[in-house]
């Protein structure tokens, strides 16, 4: 039975790895997806940095332990900012595609386009 910590840590790791892989792709759409995935992984990471709690109150009510509230506030801020920047980068990628006639991150099809495309 794997512990909660191991599950979360490997989950964050896998999502980050997938995000980094997509970030390194040549087209803007996978890059945006990669940024989003990395953002998700980071948000969970921040959350976990307040330690994992089971059977703890989320708020200061009653007796017993209470989960660390601060990372929750930090995550909320990070989510809001991440949402805004993702919106911006999607719009930017679309506009770049329109201006340059290519969705390649360098704004032009690479020389041997057929091989790099896949």
């Amino acid at each position: 039975m794997p512990s909660m910590e191991a599950l979360l840590a490997s989950g964050v790791g896998v999502v980050t790895a997938a995000g980094v892989y997509l970030l390194l792709r040549g087209r803007t759409f996978p890059v945006v997806l990669g940024l989003t995935l990395v953002g998700y992984a980071v948000n969970v990471f921040i959350f976990v940095m307040g330690r994992l709690w089971s059977n703890a109150n989320p708020l200061l009510v009653g007796d017993g332990p209470v989960a660390d509230p601060l990372p929750q506030a930090l995550v909320l801020t990070a989510i809001v900012i991440g949402f805004a920047t993702t919106g911006f980068v999607i719009e930017l990628a679309l506009r770049s595609r329109q201006e340059n006639g290519s969705d390649h991150v360098d704004g032009a099809e690479p020389a041997s386009s057929a091989e790099v495309r896949r």
């Binding site: 940024l35 990395v38 953002g39 330690r51 920047t85 980068v89 770049s96 201006e99 991150v105």
Partner: protein, 532 residues
Amino acid sequence: MNGLLDVWWQHAPVLSVVLPSLTAVVLLLLGDPGGLSAQGGAHDGGRVAWQRRVALASVGLGLLAAAAMVWRASQGELMVYRLGEWPAPFGIVLVLDRLSALMVLLTYLVAVPVLWYATGGWDMRGRYFHAVFQFQLMGLCGAFLTGDLFNLFVFFEVLLIASYVLLLHGQGRERFRMGVHYVVLNLSASALFLIGVSMLYAVTGTLNMADLAGRVAALSGDSVPLAKAAAAILLVVFGLKAALVPLFFWLPGTYAAASAPVAALFAIMTKVGVYSIIRTHWVIFGADAGEAALAVADWLLPAALVTSVLGVLGALAAQHMSRLVAYLTVSSVGTIMASVGLFTPDTLSAALYYTLHSTIVIAGLFLLVELMAAQRGDAGDHLQPASAVREPVLLGLMMLFGAASAAGLPPLPGFLGKLMLLQSSHGLAAQAWIWAVVLTVGFFTIIGLARAGVVVFWHVQPVADGPAAGSSLKLLSAAWVFMALTVVLAVVAEPVKRYTDDAARQLTDRAAYQKAVLGDRLQTTRPYTGER
């Protein structure tokens, strides 16, 4: 009036963030004449004039406030502003010390002439230039003033989002191409920033810089490597902003693609990275921070020296004047970081003086490059033989002045800054490296700029139709302001040096910083364990 001044006196740090943000809102409400004229509608002259008046009045006021804050900080007072009166480790604080005040003043010293230059026409070549410019200033002031690491992240995002839009100002293929790179790189860096910050939170249970300074020093056992890893991650994040090796490759293309006033304003953006490195690695991971002390000292100095050399090599190889200046930015950041990375108060003081100088000179050079390019017909800022500029004497002298200042020839402040740097590194283990790199880089800077000058002013081809009209006085005057500032910086070098000396000493005195922010009780948080 006195009442108003009292209010300002009490709330100075937060007001310097609020002023640009409110101005930006007013400018948004005033509408967007740039968009109107771009759509071919009637040019709304009245609204344009109002936009410019409001924006200029606001930066003028900001400059006065920043100068007053420097005067106030120079008295030695460490002003702590608790937002919402929450006590320090729990609420967010803004801290006004000598370094913060100096950086805010530098921001406005760059912003005022740049905005003046932009009102010469650039501000109408896209939408909402003035509002975004103010948001940029808000982010910069906030980043320089905040005393909380997570709040620093938030202000970083504010200034970055504004910079994304400013970079695209004027649009065009190249800007969108570089814009994608710039935005994706900075978003990745923001993710790393969050990782570094939350790792620090995990081992210390706080994000207040003063509290962190105390708690990092008290760490032991397993937490130390984690804290050191967080320090290294933060160095990567700020190194990307500051354009340190190996993270500077984005800068030359991006700055060269930006419109001239934006590139000139971005001269301060790399200094945000420099400032953040100073703040985190001196205050939080300073020399007396226990086992995690000077966590990145081994990396910072070599990286900085290599940056300086690679930057100047790029300047030698550049085919465009704007790229040349952008590479000089990289090189100057390397010089600054080398002297920050020596971790002594004397070298830090020299670094701060050199920061003032290099930011002003580079902003001026970016404006000058566009003035020259505008008079060279199709060649633009491409370094190739082309038609002569219309005003060779005037622009030539300006170029000579800018080049001499950037390369550090006496009696300009670049020379003084480098002299301070060489002197302060005397007797340190890395002295030979510093001297060799700084002097060589200075020499190659002269060669690079001389090459540009020769091509632009002497390597001319006669053309039939003759060059375009001369520069307008408004645009020229903005560049003159930067040159005048460098002269002023040389004339008042002595008081400025005294100020930076004090600033460096204030940064080293971590106990006083903690006491000012947290109070006598040192009521600090601990890593949260769930116990009541």
